[in-house]
């Protein structure tokens, strides 16, 4: 067996190992640069009552979820039952950011599918979405007592993600 042949075999084995590791990774899971940074502050009108506003400052001191949703978003319907269950347990309050949507459509959607949100604010132009780096609806942020983003879920929240990532994190953050 020549040295060259061994080299070729060695490189090949390294390649197979690399591909095997690659299989366990998800290329679509892009880490957000915002994780570990302060959540961009905003003050926005409420979906149900446009005369009132909500500001992120109100939430300082407690752990909360910010869920970006829209009536035109099909995957939001997928995660909706999960959010409704979460709301029922009361483990952590969920705040909605109604994103690039029309108020009537948003209200009709909540009437049809149920409202899991403590309250929802509206961002019809998607300004706040830019600050938060939203690139696909739905997205969900876990924000801690000091107002720092600790986790970002891109795409629908599934029961698995909720049970394995979000709820343990919320528990830990509440004790901090």
């Amino acid at each position: 067996m020549s040295a060259r042949a061994l080299w070729v075999l060695g490189i090949f084995i390294a390649l197979v190992m690399l591909l095997a590791v690659g299989l366990t990774l998800n290329p679509r899971e892009v880490p957000s640069p915002l994780v570990g940074k302060a959540a961009p502050p905003f003050e926005l009108p409420l979906l149900r009552d446009p005369d009132k506003t909500f500001t992120t400052k109100e939430r300082l001191g407690s752990v909360w979820l910010l869920n970006v949703w829209a009536s035109w978003c099909v995957s939001c319907r997928e995660e909706h039952p999960v959010l409704l269950e979460l709301a029922k347990t009361g483990a952590v309050p969920v705040y909605g950011l109604n994103y690039k949507d029309r108020r009537e459509d948003g209200l009709r959607w909540l009437a049809a599918y149920g409202d899991p949100y403590h309250l929802s604010v509206v961002d019809p132009q998607g300004r706040i979405g830019i600050d938060y780096g939203v690139y696909g609806v739905p997205e969900t942020y876990v924000i801690d007592k000091r107002g720092v983003i600790r986790y970002k879920q891109i795409g629908p929240v599934t029961r698995e993600v909720l049970a394995q990532k979000i709820l343990p994190l919320v528990g830990q953050l509440s004790r901090e």
Binding site: M1, S2, R4, L23, P27, P31
Partner: protein, 642 residues
């Protein structure tokens, strides 16, 4: 009932494949004629069974049988008939079945056109191919069965991905797969020769036509894919260095190197061990391509089946086939031996440089494609490698390869004098240099890269023609080489000019308004509804004039496919020998205006034209008289000895 028949056929095919490889490989080892006698009928039977299964799948598509999960996922009752047929390979399971079918076609071809080969060789080749078939049939049956039932049946299907609803879909995958899978023949010949411990000129001669035909299909397949992306994606680009495009390009580069290396091994007996490695690599890269597309390890527009179980299975197949072949190579390599010697300037040395450059090019594409994966695997962050990397590293490797293409065919085997070559080529060099420098002026502005590209293209054409100067009575294989090299030149012209001079402009137009680009005036005449069988569309009428004279009227569309609600841009293109006019319709804007994108792409069709000419060259070379399968065994052996 029909899907069950297909399922039974696939299971039987798996059994036949295992039987074929067992009897053939064992029979060849023991030189048992009675065992080897099974290999041809078994290979043909296997091909027929897979073809029958494929027929069953097409039949389920045509009959809109939405109780078959795969049909329900990839078809719809409103889908036109020809796309329902092509839909059979529009998804993961069906394209695997197509892959296996192509393998069956190649196996039958080997079994029919191998009368002149020793029985042991044929049996080993078919045995190895049977093993590959068995691997893919098992993959299909255990992880991706196209005949799985959906209970209860769906009322209607989820429709074929709108991007795939295009005539390109009917042709591109079968051609590409014929190429991918065709390299399995060269691979099997190499493994068979390693098993027999006989790697010699005859082995190279037997492999050559098969490799060339596979390469030809791959060339056409890649060109079709590129052309399809050009008019279907609506951006006007023709190559994106997408991981999956790269996955088809790497075997192409490696196969091109293999074709040239086989020539040396056949004529001079040299490069044997390198040639055998290339034969293994070309197929390994095809398998790697399949892995990349099927496993979802890389993000790509093509990656449509993300299922870790499938990834593990196909990685296992990859490790088994390629690892097995490399281990065999490592074990046998001491016995391969060296070929004839040659001096620094000779056809061998030039072909060696060609091989090194092509292999390095394949290596850079490989690095660029897998680097993001490697970084991610090491936990070093997520990056993506794009066109800037590939263009930076690729051009410097290709330029010397293109230059050597002019010299190689004129150099003699063993030893060639530089002065002699210089005398032969001085006119070609002078003319191509002067014209290359002047032609960009005729095209508009002078750009150094365009001048350089045109110089290389002219150089290839003129030096190729120089090989015919002494005599036009050359073998068909020689003409094949000349034609293929001219195809490369045509391709280079297309790439260079379109890169240097393409122009584009976006504008918000209301009906009656127009935009001007490169001397052409694109006027939006109006927008109308144009609904198809399974989509709703807005169709614009854009008239193009130049200096007041009408050139053409184009009808770009913006379609929404009803089932999946995907918006699609159908660009309208006026194709011409020296330029394409390309108009696509964007989103509707406020106050009745529409976003209109107009592009003028000079010489772009030369890119695909060049590929077709290359493939034609491959066809000529592969059908040369000395590869004719009815030539008596004795004459071949006699020639080989000569």
């Amino acid at each position: 009932m029909i899907p069950e028949l297909g399922q039974v056929a696939l299971s039987l095919a798996l059994a036949v494949a295992l039987f074929l490889s067992a009897t053939s490989l064992y029979g060849a080892q023991r030189s048992s004629a009675s065992l080897m006698a099974f290999s041809r009928p078994a290979a043909q039977g296997l091909a027929l069974l897979v073809a029958f299964a494929f027929g069953c799948l097409v039949r389920s598509f045509v009959a809109n049988d939405f109780s078959v999960a795969y049909v329900a996922m990839n078809s719809n009752s409103a889908l036109p008939l020809h796309y329902r047929v092509a839909g059979a390979w529009g998804g993961h399971e069906g394209s695997l079945l197509l892959w296996t079918l192509m393998l069956g076609v190649w196996m039958s071809a080997v079994s029919l056109f191998s009368r002149h080969l020793p029985e042991e060789m044929t049996a080993r080749v078919l045995g190895v191919m049977g093993l590959i078939s068995a691997g893919f049939l098992a993959f299909m049956l255990f992880t991706s069965n196209p005949f799985d039932r959906l209970l209860p049946a769906a009322a209607d299907g989820r429709d074929l991905n709108p991007l795939l609803q295009d005539p390109g879909m009917v042709l591109h995958p079968p051609m590409l797969y014929m190429g991918y899978v065709g390299f399995s023949v060269a691979f099997s010949f190499a493994v068979a020769a390693l098993l027999a411990g006989r790697l010699d000129a005859t082995w190279a001669r037997w492999s050559r036509p098969w490799t060339t035909v596979a390469w030809m299909f791959l060339t056409v397949g890649i060109a079709l894919g590129s052309g399809w992306a050009y008019y279907e994606l609506g951006w006007g680009g023709w190559w994106f260095w997408d991981p999956v495009e790269n996955a088809s390009f790497m075997p192409w580069l490696c196969g091109t190197a293999l074709i040239h290396s086989l020539a040396v091994t056949e004529k001079r007996g040299a490069f044997r061990s390198w040639t055998v490695l290339l034969a293994i690599f070309a197929f390994a890269l095809s398998l790697l391509g399949t892995f990349l597309v099927r496993s979802g390890v890389l993000t790509s527009v093509h990656a449509f089946a993300v299922d870790p179980k499938r990834g593990v299975f196909i990685l296992g197949l990859f490790a088994l086939f390629v690892g097995g072949a490399l281990a065999l190579y490592a074990w046998r390599t001491a016995r391969i031996g060296l070929g004839g010697s040659f001096s620094a300037v000779s056809r061998e040395s030039l072909l060696l440089s060609n091989n090194v450059l092509l292999a390095a090019a394949a290596g850079t594409v490989f690095l660029g494609t897998l680097y993001p994966l490697a970084l991610d695997a090491l936990g070093a962050g997520k990056i993506s490698v794009g066109p800037p990397y590939f263009e930076t590293v690729f051009a410097p490797l290709m330029a010397p390869a293109l230059f050597l293409m002019g010299v190689g065919p004129l150099a003699r085997w063993k030893h060639s004098g530089l002065p002699e070559l210089a005398v032969l080529l001085r006119w070609a060099l002078a003319v191509s240099f002067v014209l290359g420098m002047l032609l960009p002026l005729a095209l508009g502005t002078w750009k150094p890269m365009v001048g350089f590209g045109l110089f290389l293209a002219l150089w290839i054409v003129l030096s190729s023609l120089t090989t015919l100067r002494k005599s036009l009575r050359q073998t068909r294989a020689h003409y094949g080489m000349v034609v293929a090299h001219i195809g490369v030149a045509v391709f280079v012209v297309g790439v260079t000019v379109v890169k240097g001079y393409d122009a584009e402009k976006d504008a918000a137009l209301r009906p009656g308004e127009s935009l001007e680009l490169g001397g052409y005036v694109f006027a939006l005449e109006g927008i109308a509804n144009a609904n198809g069988p399974n989509y709703q569309a807005a169709r614009a009428t854009v008239s193009v004039t130049r200096d007041g004279k009408p050139i053409t009227v184009l009808y770009p569309e913006r379609r929404i496919y009803t089932v999946q609600q995907n918006p699609m841009t159908e660009a309208a293109i006026d194709t011409g020998l020296t330029r394409d006019l390309y108009v696509s319709l964007g989103d509707p804007l406020e106050r009745g205006a529409w976003l209109v994108k107009a592009q003028v792409k000079p010489f772009i069709d030369w890119i695909w034209g060049g590929c077709l000419v290359m493939a034609l060259g491959g066809l000529l070379a592969a059908t040369d008289r000395r590869y004719r399968f009815n030539v008596k065994k004795e004459t071949i052996l006699a020639e080989a000895r000569a």
